[in-house]
């Protein structure tokens, strides 16, 4: 892969994110309603509405509002949250680590478990283990994630007792270092598992199909004929090629995971971006929404780039120029 290619791809991130922001800006501004409503509650009078609209620049024409937004954005300023009054970027930045932790834990969990299950199922297609794995993963894939979340809380967390139902840390916890990490890990387990459950299904099924196809191919037959041990046949000859589409899916599903956090973070009270998104949509908090769009768009674009780069590692035939 050439450095020029990488530079070009990195450069493309800028217009992509900018385009997403333009579309996002138009969308949030064309949506019906008025962010001042969320502030006024039930009781604002006409004067209050006029005052707050002027304060937020909402009395300006849309084009003028966009010009202000774009100009501020060039200096890295997303504006202030209408509702909380604080810089929108700060709100997003303080929530981002929790969401990153949740997504990366889920992705890791889903990849390891999904590929393992795919191998179990795909190494002997049509067998009992294949049926069991395929059936279970299909059921997980079909179930709505908020339902699984609630079920896990009621059937696992509450009876078990030591698995927390809510949040990222214990109430009023002041622990630091290892104790803090363990506390967070304990809280992370259930939401990460539930969020991963859908991805596990996708990854396992893809691995299984790819592996089954590869195991029936000529080069695997040749390897077997040469007397290569079965674990090596599966692990080195078949799996490597079977994983190529899996990588595409894992990368592509990052966007899906970001969407999944909206539900999971609400169900488990996880203090991340997903919940900020829900409350900001509800209150029409446009600066915060646009800041979240920017971060989510950036994340997806970057993950896609990384996915493309991983291809090269996995398949020597792929070259980028």
């Amino acid at each position: 892969m050439s450095g020029r290619y990488l530079a070009w791809r990195l450069f493309l991130v800028v217009p992509t994110v900018a385009g997403i922001l333009v579309v996002g800006f138009v969308l949030v501004h064309l949506a019906p309603g008025d962010p001042v409503q969320a502030l006024a509650g039930e009781h604002g009078d006409a004067e209050y509405y006029a005052f707050m609209r002027a304060r937020f620049g909402l009395d300006q024409p849309l084009l003028a509002q966009f010009a202000t937004f774009a100009a501020n954005l060039l200096t890295g300023d997303f504006g202030r949250s209408f509702i909380q009054g604080r810089p929108a970027f700060d709100l997003v930045a303080e929530r981002l680590p929790a969401t990153l932790l949740l997504i990366s834990a889920s992705l890791a969990l889903a990849s390891v478990v999904g590929i393992a299950l795919g191998i179990v199922a795909g190494s002997r297609p049509g067998g009992v283990r294949d049926l069991a794995v395929s059936g279970t993963t299909l059921a997980l894939y079909a179930a709505p994630v908020f339902w699984i979340g609630q079920l896990v809380i009621l059937l696992v967390a509450v009876p078990v007792g030591w698995l927390p139902v809510q949040g990222m840390t214990s109430p009023g916890s002041t622990s630091t270092g290892l104790a803090h990490a363990l506390d967070v890990g304990r809280h992370l387990l259930l939401p990460a598992l539930v969020l991963a459950s859908q991805e596990v299904a996708a990854i396992a099924r893809l691995t299984r199909t790819g592996l089954a196809t590869e195991l029936a191919s000529d080069h695997v037959r040749t390897a077997r004929a040469k007397g290569v041990a079965e674990w090596q046949v599966v692990g080195r000859h078949a799996l490597r090629r079977a994983l190529l589409p899996v990588v595409t899916v894992v990368g592509g599903r990052t966007g899906h995971l970001v969407a999944g956090t909206v539900v999971i973070e609400t169900v488990f009270g996880w203090p991340g971006l997903g919940r900020l998104l829900v409350t900001s949509v509800g209150s029409g908090d446009r600066p915060v929404l646009l800041a979240i769009f920017a971060v989510a768009a950036l994340a997806v674009v970057v993950v896609n780039l990384v996915t493309d780069l991983v291809y090269v590692r996995l398949d020597p035939r792929i070259r980028y120029r």
Binding site: G33, A38, A40, G41, H43, G44, Y49, G85
Partner: protein, 558 residues
């Protein structure tokens, strides 16, 4: 609570009309003679308990910041009301009891109020609290950014004077009766001048995220989206309070998970127990429930059906009355609210006893009478189907009696039940595509006025001036959300509300609101279904909670 609450408030209403004024006078006198009165002033559930301990409470929304003077948001007020105080606190009957003001005088027939502040109150940073803080808070924060206080006071309040450090005077253009109901920590929390002076208050992140108040608890830390922690204010001006050492406010967005956490013992207080869970927990040994009409975001809400009076079909009061007669309030209470609330027995909420009139002639449930009224109004019926017009003015003959009904998706159960009940009297209530989120709902109802009927949770507040007037006066027919949705115009009503606002004599005010209620029940621009109740849940190991405001001020846990 159902029947017992109705009976209770009926009694309170009748007695209230007579004694409220006397009680107010007595309270002022008592407060003047003894500041100890203040320590037992808040409404509490349970008794005095042991000192010390930590309370873990749950609320459903992230506060984001802690300045309650610039917002009416319930998520901000839930935490911030532990930190701040108002000039007064309101008791269960919405009557003022001393807080930062130890006593007050109503002068010039209610055009001037003089407040005497408690001596020796300190801000959490040690700075003395003075009358300048009160004046500053009103002028720079409340009258700018607090939508309720701004909209009710800014037209009538002329100026605020501070003759000395412990005296504040509010001077009005004309006599203004409801001031004392608008000075509690929810409507008018007092913030420190020495911290906010000269800054852009809503954007003063340092101050809004590290609040300094006078209240029972001192802000300790805030983890966005996760929790807020508070420690006891050891210099609190109310003798002997607070009892707890520490309060942790957890943010748990799902009501069902608040209940799960309450049952597992992870938390000891939950702000929102859904009706169906409340019914299940009612007999529990470990969990007690506290039912209240109050909320940090607003109080005394009634689920109200609005009729669009601009529509020819609904311009006829007989049709409006028939629809009211066809809706069984008790079924809404039982089947939608799971019994957590009360049947609305008057246009004004029972949580405002002096204005609530339990004896007013509400339509009640009578489908047969509804049928007779619709027949008389020209809406005939063959068999059991939808009625059609036969000589209704402004409506072509043969038009079916089919009207739409707009509602928030969270009020789906109301829509389903209303449609089923009205079908029985031959009214086709269209609910198929009228579940609208808040923004499109407001657009259609208040901006486009493109609706026949809808259901809104109208919160009456602590005084009719705050949340009742806006629904009925003709000057409030506009595009603002939750204004006069029915577009109801009645000069008598306009006049009576103006008179009630200027009348400081509570008995006379009561009489004016009775007249208003009588006219409203006659005209039926709206129909009042059920009063909703907020159910708080707490572990029985804790006690002493108040319903709103400083809910943990007098709480303790063993």
């Amino acid at each position: 609570m159902g029947l017992s609450a109705k009976g209770d408030s009926a009694v309170r209403g009748r007695i209230g009309r007579v004694v409220v004024l006397a009680a107010a006078v007595a309270f002022v006198a008592a407060a003047c003679s003894s500041t100890e009165e203040t320590s037992s002033s808040s409404t509490v559930a349970g008794g005095e308990g042991p000192r010390g301990g930590t309370l873990v409470a749950a609320t459903d929304a992230d506060p984001g910041q802690f300045n309650p003077a610039i917002t009416t948001s319930g998520s901000v007020h839930t935490g911030a009301e532990l930190i701040y105080n108002g000039l007064v606190e309101l008791d269960e009957a919405q009557q003022p009891v001393p807080e930062l003001a130890e006593s007050w005088e109503v002068l010039e027939d209610g055009a001037r109020y003089r407040f005497h502040l408690v001596e020796g109150v300190l801000w959490h940073d040690g700075t003395p609290f003075t009358s300048a803080d009160v004046k500053f808070t009103f002028e720079e924060a409340l009258l700018q950014y607090h939508s309720r206080t701004k909209s009710s006071l800014s037209g009538v309040l002329d100026r605020i004077e501070t003759p000395d450090e412990r005296t504040v005077e509010f001077v009005f253009n004309q006599p203004y009766a409801p001031l004392l109901q608008q000075l509690n920590v929810t409507e008018a929390p007092i913030i420190p001048k020495h911290i906010y002076e000269g800054t852009d208050i809503p954007n003063n992140d340092d101050a809004n995220l590290r609040p300094v108040g006078t209240g029972p608890f001192v802000f300790e830390s805030y983890t966005p989206g996760s929790e807020v922690t508070f420690t006891a204010n050891l210099n609190y001006f109310k003798e002997g309070l607070p009892l707890l050492d520490r309060v942790v406010l957890r943010i748990i967005p799902e009501d069902a998970n608040q209940v799960a956490s309450l049952e597992s013992g992870d938390i000891q207080w939950a702000f929102n127990v859904p009706g169906v869970e409340a019914r299940r927990l009612d007999g529990s040994d470990e969990i007690d429930l506290l039912r209240t009409g109050n909320n940090p975001g607003g109080a005394n809400c009634i689920m109200t059906v609005s009729y669009n009076l601009d529509r020819p079909v609904l311009a006829d009061v007989r049709v409006r009355r028939a629809i009211a007669l066809g809706l069984d309030q008790q079924r809404f209470l039982d089947n939608v609210l799971f019994g957590q609330g009360a049947v609305a027995e008057a246009p004004i909420h029972s949580g405002i006893p002096f204005a609530h009139d339990p004896d007013v002639a509400m339509p009640g449930y009578d489908p047969e009478e509804a049928g007779r009224l619709l027949d008389a109004a020209g809406w005939g019926r063959d068999g059991g189907g939808t009625r059609t017009s036969r000589g209704v003015p402004g409506v072509p003959d043969g038009t079916p009696l089919s009207i739409d009904f707009l509602y928030f998706p969270t009020f789906n159960d109301y829509a389903q039940l209303a449609a089923a009940e009205l079908a029985e009297i031959g009214v086709d209530l269209r609910i198929g595509d009228t579940a609208l989120e808040r923004d499109p709902f407001v657009q259609r109802v208040f901006v486009d006025r493109d609706f026949d009927t809808n259901v809104i949770s109208y919160c009456n507040g602590t005084d009719p001036e705050i949340g009742v007037r806006r629904m009925y006066v003709s000057s409030n027919i506009n595009t603002n959300p939750f204004s006069n949705a029915a577009a109801y115009r009645n000069p008598d009503i306009d006049r009576l509300f103006d008179e009630a606002r200027a009348e400081v004599d509570t008995a006379a005010r009561t009489d004016l609101y009775r007249q208003i209620s009588d006219i409203l029940v006659e005209d039926l621009p709206y129909y009042w279904l059920v009063e909703t109740t907020n159910v708080r849940g707490y572990r029985t190991s804790c006690s002493g909670f108040g319903p709103a405001g400083h809910f943990a001020e007098a709480a303790s846990c063993s």
